[in-house]
Each structure stands twice: as structure tokens, then as C-alpha cells.
């Protein structure tokens, strides 16, 4: 009994000590400058830490057009392996009639990384930006995306009209005087323009359904085993 009473608080302290630093919620999502997710201050990601979450909220334009934003985000940081940031937003026009005016959306997922060790954040940065815009978007609608670090873009993808796209880019970034700063700010930005006449339930997203590359190996192995089994059976019959 005494053992249990002592063990419980100690285990709680240990749990907080070991797990709390590795799960930090520091990402924030803004739409047209308005904070929607992660608006209170949180410490940036340090070595070995990660964050993830889901979001689902509505945004109403002055002309009355309503859009829903939903998806998942995550980010990690390791001094050895570097920084990662990931998001798959889906934006849906929620109106019951075609949109009234042109609605321009500037969607940002920002994430701070903190590393006080020597020496530089400079190096090669990569981005993969899948984009989709439904053909039911109003004439002249576009979608674009990019990731920036301390204000330097890896490369703007788009703007594209309706369709499905996926672009990977890389860039050597040199942050100059900012390099001595222990903090690096990543900003995943999507610029979506829904022109007037966008039909209800029109979506723009940054996620593509792609064949699972990891499945090619087991599929190939399975086919080889099946063909081997048939050949062996036929061979034993002929004998």
C-alpha cells in the first residue's frame, strides 16, 4: 500500500520529465493573418522534439463566403537529422450557392526550431508540394504553395489552375546575419484564389493519393512465390 502511494507520484514525475519535453505543441495556423490554431505561446522545437495535431475550422469572408479548413500537421527537429514540417490541408467552399466574389486565402503553418549549438542553419532545404484544385472552382481560380525558412523560400510551386500536381524542389539557403540566431522559423504557405462562381463543396487541397511504394516489394515477392508454386506443381506432374 505504502509502496503504491510512493510509486504513483514518482511515476508521474518521471513521465512528465521524460515525455513532456518530446511532445511540444508549438505549431500555429493562420488564415489571412488571423490565428486559428496554436495561438498561445509555446516553446519552439528543440533537439529530439516533435509536435503534431489536427485542425478543422471555418473562415468567413466579408462577402459572406464560408470555407472549411481541415487536415493534419506535424513537425520534428533533431540536430543530427534536421527539421521536418508536414501538412495536408483541405479547403472546402461551404456555401449552398456559387460564391459571390473572389476569395483569396493565404494559409500559413508556422513552426519555430531552436538549437543553441554551433554554428549555422545554412544548407540544402527540400520541399514536396502536392496541389489539387477541383474543376468546379470559379473561372480564374488558382492554387500555389511553398515552404520558407526565415523568410527564404525553397521555391514557389504554382500558381496552377484546376488539376492535380506534385512538385519537389530544393534550394541552398544561406541566412546571412540571421544564421547566428538559435531560432529558425519554417513557414508552409498556401495561396488559394477561389474566383467568383465557385460551386458548393469545391475543394482545394495539398494532399495526393499516391500508390504506396513500400507495397511494390511484397507484391512482387508474392507474384514470384505464386509463379514458383505453379511451376513446381506442373514440373512434379510431368514427372
Amino acid at each position: 500500500m505504502n509502496y503504491t502511494r510512493r510509486f504513483t507520484p514518482y511515476s508521474l514525475i518521471l513521465g512528465v520529465t521524460f515525455f513532456a519535453p518530446s511532445i511540444v505543441k508549438s505549431a500555429s495556423i493562420n488564415v489571412n493573418g488571423n490565428c486559428e490554431v496554436g495561438c498561445s505561446f509555446a516553446a519552439p522545437l528543440s533537439n529530439g522534439q516533435s509536435t503534431s495535431g489536427t485542425f478543422n475550422f471555418d473562415y468567413t469572408f466579408l462577402d459572406g463566403d464560408i470555407y472549411n479548413f481541415a487536415g493534419n500537421y506535424s513537425a520534428t527537429y533533431s540536430t543530427l537529422n534536421g527539421s521536418t514540417i508536414s501538412i495536408d490541408p483541405t479547403i472546402t467552399y461551404e456555401g449552398v450557392t456559387p460564391s459571390v466574389g473572389t476569395d483569396t486565402i493565404d494559409f500559413n503553418l508556422t513552426q519555430d526550431y531552436f538549437d543553441s549549438s554551433c554554428c549555422t542553419w545554412a544548407g540544402t532545404y527540400y520541399e514536396t508540394v502536392p496541389l489539387f484544385l477541383a474543376s468546379t472552382a470559379g473561372p480564374g481560380s488558382t492554387i500555389a504553395g511553398q515552404v520558407s525558412y526565415d523568410g527564404e523560400s525553397v521555391g514557389l510551386v504554382g500558381p496552377f489552375g484546376p488539376g492535380t500536381y506534385s512538385v519537389s524542389e530544393s534550394a541552398n539557403l544561406d541566412f546571412g546575419g540571421l544564421d547566428t540566431d538559435p531560432t529558425l522559423l519554417a513557414d508552409f504557405e498556401f495561396l488559394d484564389k477561389f474566383a467568383a462562381g465557385t460551386l458548393p463543396d469545391t475543394t482545394a487541397s495539398s494532399t495526393n493519393a499516391t500508390p504506396e511504394p513500400a507495397m511494390f516489394f511484397p507484391c512482387g515477392l508474392g507474384l514470384i512465390l505464386i509463379s514458383y508454386g505453379f511451376r513446381r506443381r506442373n514440373h512434379s506432374r510431368s514427372n
Binding site: 514540417i85 508536414s86 495536408d88 544548407g123 540544402t124 520541399e127 515552404v147 495526393n208 499516391t210
Partner: protein, 58 residues
Amino acid sequence: MNPEKENPIPENVEAGDSVDRRKTLIQVGKFAAYAAPFTVLALSKKAEAATGHGPGKH
């Protein structure tokens, strides 16, 4: 001579056909059972999110 005893081939052929058909069906069934999971795996897709990554401080 009894003509039925002289020519028993049709009955045997019919029986053989039935056995062959059953074997073929079993083979097809086994192949389908083996192939189904791999077909499901081949058709499975994953959602690709927008990602960015860079080096750690160095």
C-alpha cells in the same frame, strides 16, 4: 455381345471431365485466395502531404 459393355468410354470420359473441372476450379480458387491479399496491397494508396525538411544546425 452386349454393345453397352463394348463401349464404356463415354461414361469414363464424362467422369474424367467432371474431375478435371473440379480440379481446375480448386486451382482457380487457390490462386484467387493467394492473389487477393496482394491485389489489395497493390491497390492500396497513401496520402501524400506537403512536406519540407532541412539540415540541423551544424
